[in-house]
């Protein structure tokens, strides 16, 4: 499976993502934001970081960069697009995903491991995943997901909520919500479920000696579903 990771000025999780993708057998290539086109890919990843120093709004400047038109065309033709953290913020700013990531409720930068619940398995990312809960890592200042009531209803009606923050036992409430996101939302899909944006970083959980391995399950699952 061929993947491309887009690098923006200020991306800082691009190489972690490259390492993770290659570890599980993706043929990955790095693509600069100023390029006109993306090499033939089955998956495009927008990595985490602070593209353009988070100026104006997180992800807003990157969402207008040269390469984005190709990303939007790829997404609209059904290609898999994955945005992690700042990548998720960029995807909301392009309009490929609904809503916006606002500043965390308690104004703090959060860097910690969290549990997320997989809410939908009718998609290429989580289909046949062996676990219901994943332990992943978050590191962000703007992860407080917000959208209008109408958009939320539509996300719920179409099962577009991908993952939600929860406790180790799966409880979803205010105490297991790190950033104030509505309905504990940690990640969402577009309508066709080929575009996934999420705040947690699976690429940071691919080694049992460093952190954990739930991220490995995530990447392996994408590969298995692609075959």
């Amino acid at each position: 499976m061929r993947s491309s990771v887009i690098i923006f000025p200020g991306s800082n999780c691009d190489r972690d993502m490259d390492v993770a993708l290659k570890k599980f057998g993706f043929k990955n290539q790095m693509v600069w934001h100023n390029d006109q086109s993306i090499p033939k890919s089955d998956l495009i990843v927008l990595p985490g970081g602070f593209s353009y120093g988070d100026y104006l709004r997180c992800g807003s400047i990157a969402s207008k960069s040269k390469i984005i038109k190709s990303v939007i065309d790829f997404a609209n033709s059904g290609g898999l697009v994955l945005g992690i953290c700042n990548g998720f913020q960029i995807l909301t700013e392009t309009g490929l995903l609904n809503g916006i990531l606002q500043q965390n409720k308690f104004l703090n930068f959060i860097c910690s491991n969290v549990y997320v619940k997989v809410k939908d398995k009718q998609n290429k990312y989580f289909k046949d995943l062996k676990k219901e809960l994943l332990e992943l890592h978050i590191a962000h200042n703007e992860g407080n997901y917000f959208c209008s009531d109408d958009e939320l209803k539509s996300l719920e009606d179409n099962s577009q909520i991908a993952v939600t923050y929860c406790g180790v036992d799966g409880t979803e409430n205010e105490t297991t919500n790190p950033n104030g996101a509505i309905k504990n939302i940690a990640g969402i899909f577009n309508k066709n479920k080929n575009v996934l944006g999420m705040m947690p970083h699976p690429e940071r959980m691919i080694d049992k000696y460093l952190s954990g391995e739930d991220g490995s399950l995530f990447f392996k699952n994408i590969l298995d579903n692609f075959k």
Binding site: R57, G99, Q102, Q103, K105, F106, F146
Partner: protein, 77 residues
């Protein structure tokens, strides 16, 4: 021509920074501060002499980049 834009959070959208500023002001004995909403201010120099045209250009910029209409409103002043 210089066009000025103010972008603010929509009513009902949580503004944690505004809240923190309000609480700080209250703590500084500005007891009658009931609410603070923080926003952004832009001065945009447009190469255009016709004010109507310049404002209509800036209006387009607001919709496409300067404001995110999911949570923000904008005002051209």
């Amino acid at each position: 021509m210089k066009i000025k834009v103010i972008v603010t959070l929509k009513n009902g959208v949580l503004d944690p920074q505004g809240k923190a500023i309000q609480q700080t002001l209250n703590g500084m004995n500005f007891g009658n501060v009931e609410d603070v909403r923080q926003g952004k201010y832009f001065e945009i120099e447009v190469k255009e002499k016709d004010e109507k045209k310049a404002k209509s250009l800036v209006d387009d910029m607001c919709k496409k980049l300067l404001a995110n209409l999911v949570i923000e409103d904008y005002k051209i002043v």
